[in-house]
Amino acid sequence: MLQGSTSAGPSPTASGHLATGDAVIRVQHLTKHYGPLAAVDGISFEVGRGEVFGLLGPNGAGKTTTVEMLEGIREADGGELTVLGLDARRDRQRIKARIGVQLQTVSLYPHLTVRELIELFGTFFPRHLPVGDLIKALDLEEKREAQTRTLSGGQRQRLSVALALVNDPELVFLDEPTTGLDPAARRSLWDLVKGLQGEGKSILLTTHYMDEAEILCDRLAIMDHGHILDLGTVDELVGRRFHERAVRFDRVDGLDDAQMAAFPGVSHMAHEDGLVLLYTADVPATIGAVLAASEALGAQPNDLTVRRATLEDVFLDLTGRALRD
């Protein structure tokens, strides 16, 4: 489970069971293989009712594969999958009627108008929300009679969310909902997700944006290479391994890792794109040691900064590499 981790930090929780009993998703030992590659390798987690749960990880981590198995559009190889109390492998049709699905960058029927497309999707479900309400809620009123091929990226993404909500679902899956959007469009989508949670809906979203995960998710699972590396709230994930702050600076030639790891206050260290990261409980002592050691080499540590640990540090700590777009 901790494959790839470079840290001596505390172990993640083994299963991710909720304290409370009411789960809308329950996944146990889920696996999916593509030939010899294990895209999803025995993961387990639960999502509680009313919760926004995030799967965070780089492209290829297995997030989308996991979500698609839950949505009933991809076969699982092994494990147990329960969605809304139903077996996700046997009761697919009943589950599909009660969930909302938004896929990565889909452009459906480019020649239909926004209204026509939402109406069409409504007919696929036993019951559906009034089209006008959805168009209003998703702020698409001025594009109501526009063919969907004319929409901007943000409008298209909002339409895609509108289609996911057409059946008034209890559980909504959002797969990379803000990828490719400008900052303003991302923010408006985040507001929307919070609004959905306010209506009592449960949400499972995947993302590779740290800020998105921090802002939206009540709890999240960090995925890489088909494994869940750790799981919990942002505070839990950070607090579990970083009581310290990170002292960060450009690598200084001649200053070796063993030497830096022995600086006062340093608990462990990492490298990130030519930067050195020293996690320390005693910032002044560590910085003093860095400056002294650099001066002895006739050098100076450039771009020296100190910050609190973030999800980025958690990911780096777990995988030994940075999570980049």
């Binding site: 889909v106 459906l108 020649h111």
Partner: protein, 374 residues
Amino acid sequence: MNALLRLTEANIKSFVRDRAALFWTIAFPVMFVVLFGTLFGGSNTPDYRLGWVDLDGTPAAQQLHDAFASTKVLSLKPQTGESAALDSMHGGQLDAVVVVPKGYGGAVAAARSATGDQAAAPGSVALVLYTDPSQSTTAGAVSQIVNGVATGVNQALAGRPPVLTVTGKALQGSSGELDGASYFVPSILAMALMQLGVFAAIPLVQDREKLILKRLGATPLPRWTLVGSNVLMRLLIALAQTALILGIGIVALGVEVTGSWPLIIGIVLLGAVTFIALGYVIASFARTEEAANGITQVVQVPMMFLSGIFFPIALMPSWMKGIATILPLTYLGDALRQTMVGGSPFVPLAVGLAILAGWLVVCLAISARFFRWQ
């Protein structure tokens, strides 16, 4: 059911609003029809070979012969007897046959002597005209000329009622080839249906690439509804193409449709479904849109030229004939020519339809086994 109809409606709207799709399925075959209409329809100097069977042998009959000859557009070929003449027509040496009945001279003489005397009006005699309805322009022209000459004779005799009438008789299935329009209108309809079906592969692969099939798969919409709406849309377009191509053929090119309409529509639908199934086979093996485009061309271009669409299979060299024997479009074109304009069969209709149905079953089986939704 509602979802099926709404999805079909959405497909048709998308289709109609997509100008490129509209061009290829509607304007393109119409262009072909119009192009071939100008090539074969009009300007060639008519010279119809008319078999002349004189059962009367009087000078009056000879005068009638000369009247026909003076029209300049008919080459009269005297025949020894009616059955010999019809044999020649079957063999393609004659375009039409006129039989002058025994007693013609007598009737003409009686009419002359009875001039002005209405009470003693003589009996009329009937010229028998054999034409081949599968060569509709020829048949139409010859019968117009023959009727015209007969009217002239009647006016010369000033007889009331007319002495000379013309009884038209159809001689089906002559081995002579169909005339231009009658041949290529059903052929181009077959080609349009083939393209409509085979090109179904491209939007399918596009939809798969753009994850549309996957997105629809995440709704409770059953897959048969999705397939059903696609097929239904294409069948409706097939009927629209049929109406348009045959409409132009009948109205502008004078093609005479002799077969039964329910049978023709049945064959159109069977052909469309078979080629749509072939489109699904292509979509089963093409992973990208580019691949789908390529495979579609590899399938449709040879079929267009080797299935007797642009020139009859009978005129092909034997190696080409061998290929034509395999291709489903050969049988759709053949079936449509047989039923619509009485074209000479390449294979009997039942055999052709059975082969088409065989293609359909094979394509369905392959699609069911290999088609992927994502």
